[in-house]
């Protein structure tokens, strides 16, 4: 075979052959790399789309939950509250002079319970409605909720918030407030804490809310595990709101003090 090409320029053949083969291989590699990149870009786009859809679903769920809270709060305040207030008005018109001592005692007890019920309805309605948050801002709402919720001599609450923080975005504030409500309720329900410290700080474009408490803490692994369980609805809500706010949460558990650190990027309302 080789003998047949002795007359031709073998040198030329070898060089051309090598170049053609190299070209072939380089083309293959370029096509492969371009194709893989295209596939990778497509996958990233799909992932972004799925993420976007998921966020839209979470946003819709959170919005509908917020709407429902408002509706219940308004009904409690305007209807149940109004009925209870009217009942108290009627009640106060009863002349207690005509009552004997046994009935008088019952009358006083009922009046006390009625006042309590009115107070409770108002408190629940305010919690649900977040009026305070809208009017006085996140710091005041957090302070008020902590005071109201931890009404016990057994638990010491310290609140130290960053006063430079002003309302940036009402949706963000509602989100942080709801997360805080859920976290504090969880601590009171499960941690058996007698000391809670709430601090907030704004550093550059990030808002940090830290809750330090003693008692039974939760580690990040436990939190991740619990939030996928059916009964962990509160933790799921927390996570949904965090996803929506593009933030993060870090649970730390120790023998002395446990902590929860919420980190939310500050976004000004457009």
């Amino acid at each position: 075979m080789i003998g047949g090409i002795i007359g031709t320029d073998i040198k030329f053949l070898v060089i051309v052959g090598i170049l053609v083969m190299l070209l072939l291989m380089v083309s293959f590699l370029v096509i492969l790399v371009v194709h893989q990149r295209k596939k990778l870009r497509f996958q990233t786009d799909m992932q972004d789309l799925r993420e976007q859809q998921k966020n839209q679903l979470i946003e819709a769920a959170v919005k509908s939950e917020e709407g429902e809270r408002h509706r219940i709060a308004e009904q409690l305040h305007d209807e149940v509250g109004a009925i209870l207030s009217s009942t108290r008005l009627h009640f106060s018109n009863i002349k207690d002079d005509s009552l004997d001592s046994g009935d008088k005692q019952l009358y006083e007890k009922s009046k006390l319970l009625l006042n309590d019920a009115i107070q409770q309805v108002r408190s629940i309605s305010h919690n649900l409605h977040s009026t305070l948050l809208k009017e006085f801002g996140l710091n005041e709402a957090i302070r008020n909720f902590a005071d109201k919720t931890v009404k016990s001599d057994l638990v010491t609450v310290e609140v130290n918030l960053d006063e430079t923080y002003l309302i940036q975005n009402q949706q963000m504030d509602i989100g942080i407030y709801r997360i805080f409500q859920e976290l504090l309720n969880n601590i009171l329900k499960h941690a058996k804490a007698n000391y809670i410290r709430i601090t907030s700080e704004c550093i550059e474009d990030l808002y940090y809310l830290r809750i330090i408490y003693n008692g039974i803490g939760l580690s990040q692994e436990q939190f991740e595990e619990l939030r996928y369980k059916r009964e962990g609805l509160g933790l799921k809500n927390i996570m949904n709101r965090i996803i929506l706010l593009k933030g993060s949460i870090l649970y730390e558990r120790s023998d002395m003090n446990n902590s929860i650190l919420l980190k939310i990027p500050l976004v000004k309302e457009s």
Binding site: M1, I5, K11, G17, M21, L22, F28, Q36, L40
Partner: protein, 227 residues
């Protein structure tokens, strides 16, 4: 300077193999599909060491007559390389051109048998078996191309630089792509253009160094075990 450089290039088939060997010794835990490549690196190191010792010292050490050639070692290397890499490609388990991949090793065996029984002498003293080396390079080139074609058609998204298989195949591709024509015309070049044959063999040596570097990367790059 030229003599030093020439010596370095002449011995490149030995020292270049130390690069993947060191990488292999540093990263002993390799995936199963790299086993043939591991065997190849060790095997070819000894083959080329022996071949280069013959080349360098055949006159100095007065080797016996039958030991004064290393051509049969190049034939051995081509056959060992061919079958070990066919094994490697089979271990990659790519469901592509299965029939061809089953037939090719049989055809390769038939070709080697027929060629060395009827046409060429395996222990030829005067020249390399250009045909044997070129056919082996051609077959390996086919395997490399089908590997890339499979990657093109496969839906799975891969980060290629993290895949040991990709580095092995790319190193081998560079080696066979450049050397296919060198092997094919080497016999004729030796007869007709000796100087160019020497230069071209230096090109072969350079591609061999690149090939060894790619094998070393394949052994080193252990972040991803996929093919």
């Amino acid at each position: 300077m030229n003599i030093v450089l020439s010596k370095i290039l002449d011995w490149s088939e030995v020292w270049a193999l130390l690069i993947p060997l060191i990488s292999l010794l540093k990263h002993k835990n390799q995936p199963e599909y790299l086993k043939p490549v591991k065997i190849y690196v060790f095997g070819s190191f000894f083959i080329f060491l022996f071949a280069d010792i013959i080349m360098e010292f055949k006159k100095l050490w007065h080797f016996p007559y039958w030991l004064r050639t290393n051509n049969y070692l190049y034939n051995t290397h081509a056959i060992v390389q061919l079958f070990l890499f066919i094994w490697f490609f089979n271990l990659l388990n790519q469901p592509f051109l299965k029939k061809a991949k089953r037939i090719i090793p049989i055809l390769a065996c038939v070709f080697i048998g027929v060629n060395f029984i009827f046409f060429e002498n395996f222990f030829e003293r005067m020249r390399l078996s250009s045909l044997m080396l070129a056919v082996a390079a051609g077959i390996l080139l086919f395997y490399c191309l089908q590997y890339y074609l499979y990657l093109l058609m496969d839906e799975q998204i891969r980060v290629m630089r993290k895949e040991a298989g990709f580095w092995v195949v790319t190193g081998l591709s560079i080696y066979v792509v450049i050397n296919f024509f060198i092997f094919l015309f080497y016999e004729a070049l030796i007869i007709n253009n000796w100087n160019f044959a020497v230069d071209v063999w230096n090109v072969h040596n350079l591609t061999f160094i690149i090939y060894c570097i790619f094998l070393a990367i394949a052994f080193y790059d252990r972040r991803d075990n996929r093919h």
